[in-house]
């Protein structure tokens, strides 16, 4: 029984928890399947609602990781538990060979996060087929590149559509849940597009606008009032490509009860959260349960939301469901505090 901790997942939650746990004097190893830590945040340009740089938040979190052992490019292939000790086997992903290695720890923190919904699955939206249909994440890549947002034909998009709830609240793709942050992301991105191209028209197609947190509703108001972003209440039913590469949308304007047809030069799909592909394997190794939505269940969603139900295994972040950056940081801190308390109590018990 020692004071070593393994964190699986090097996104914002995993890194935040790692920073707190090394502060507590614990021996922390962070395992990340990608070659870089940072998770989805590393891809994002600016954050809602205040549009600060994502890199600033990332830098803040990374600053606390000096004493953390970070192992990237590894996939967890097995976890076993003996008394209070965990043994984790991993495989290093390498084109030529795969190297296996082992880690042991007294406690585990799962922070495996989420994947973005694969937009291709909404076939009728034509992602991957129509040149000018992109996802919100693609848009962030383009924002980040700083090169401006152009259509595939190289033109400034005169009219832009943003489609909310792509892969969320949609029985047809098997996801009944709301991904929570896409609404405000859509509003944020609409403002950013208007800021970049004031003469362009920007339309958000939404079912409900769930402005759940502080300053979000104000951002929505600002988008309408200051930036002239239009909001059309109606889910995109299908789209098609015009000869010039523009996209023709079909939706209902539910506020007037009439179908609506509109051509846009660029269509952005606000893709939601789905459980990360590797999470279910890890859950299987530990006997953890997921909900029907595929996200991991905590021991109690109100009172023990960071406990997995398996002693020594803790949960942080978006593997439990859609969550914002601020919430992920708070949740990771809470998980870290709980995990540190567990280590102390079990160490004392064993000593």
């Amino acid at each position: 029984m020692g004071n070593s901790v393994i964190i699986i997942g090097g996104g914002i939650s995993g890194m935040t928890a790692a920073g707190i746990l090394v502060q507590q004097g614990l021996d922390v190893t962070l395992l990340e399947k990608e070659n870089e830590t940072g998770g989805h945040l590393a891809r994002w340009d600016r954050l809602f609602p205040d549009r600060r740089k994502a890199s600033e938040v990332l830098d803040f979190v990374k600053a606390g990781l000096n004493q953390v052992k970070i192992v990237t490019g590894v996939t967890v292939t097995g976890i076993s538990k003996h008394d209070y000790d965990f043994t984790i086997t991993t495989r290093i992903q390498h084109p030529a060979s795969s190297i296996h290695s082992q880690f042991s720890a007294s406690a585990l923190l799962l922070a495996t996060g989420f994947d973005l919904f694969e937009a291709r699955k909404k076939e009728e939206y034509g992602y991957g087929i129509y040149n000018n249909v992109i996802t919100s994440a693609d848009l962030e890549d383009q924002f980040k590149s700083g090169k401006g947002i152009l259509t595939r034909e190289g033109k400034i998009p005169g009219r832009i559509g943003l489609v909310h709830c792509v892969g969320s609240r949609d029985e047809k793709v098997g996801n009944l849940y709301c991904s929570k942050v896409c609404c405000v992301t859509g509003v944020k991105q609409a403002i950013e597009l208007k800021e970049m191209y004031p003469a362009s028209e920007v339309f958000n197609f939404y079912m409900d606008l769930r402005m759940f947190d502080r300053h979000f509703e104000e951002l929505y108001y600002e988008a309408q009032q200051k930036w002239g972003v239009s909001f059309i209440r109606g889910r995109l039913s299908e789209c098609a490509e015009n000869p010039d590469g523009s996209i023709i949308l079909k939706t209902e304007d539910t506020l007037t009860g009439k179908p609506l047809k509109m051509t846009v030069d660029l269509l952005i799909l606000l893709t939601g959260f789905v459980p990360a592909i590797g999470t279910s394997a890890i859950c299987g190794m530990l006997g953890l349960k997921s909900g029907t939505d595929g996200f991991v269940n905590s021991a109690d969603s109100h009172t023990s939301n960071n406990s997995s139900g398996v002693p020594g295994v803790f949960l942080a972040g978006a593997l439990k469901g859609p969550i914002s950056i601020g919430e992920a940081i708070a949740d990771a801190r809470a998980a870290a505090v709980q995990l540190a308390g567990y280590i102390k109590s079990t160490t004392a018990y064993n000593d």
């Binding site: 606008l209 108001y221 309408q224 009032q225 002239g228 239009s230 909001f231 209440r233 079909k250 304007d253 506020l255 007037t256 009439k258 179908p259 609506l260 047809k261 509109m262 051509t263």
Partner: protein, 110 residues
């Protein structure tokens, strides 16, 4: 032309690409607050004229925003201008002036 006993029908949908946005431009220049509507419907719910008719002020300015202002011409006449709609609007849309602006648009644009 042959009479087949049936004819081509006009599409019911809003064709945004061929919409008439002259009304929107004029109305917006007079009363920009229409842009902050969130479609809650409290205006129509409190409206006296809506109790007697299918007058729906929310829909009227929504169809303008969709580029299909034709239907407002007959409808707008029913407004009694009492201002309750404006008083209940959670977004502060200046509905009375919006109605004046729509009237102006009808006058100027036919």
């Amino acid at each position: 032309m042959i009479d087949f006993g049936y004819t081509l029908t006009k599409d019911r949908q809003f064709d945004y690409d061929h919409g008439d946005f002259r009304f929107l431009r004029l109305v917006r220049s007079i009363e920009p607050s229409l842009d902050v509507c969130i479609g809650c419907g409290s205006c129509t719910a409190t409206c006296s004229a809506s109790q007697f008719t299918n007058f729906n002020i929310r829909k009227l300015h929504t169809v303008i925003r969709r580029g299909d202002p034709e239907s407002i011409k007959a409808e707008l006449k029913k407004c009694m201008f009492c201002g309750k709609c404006q008083l209940v609007c959670p977004r502060g849309v200046n509905l009375r002036n919006l109605i004046l602006a729509m009237n102006r648009a009808i006058e100027q644009l036919g």
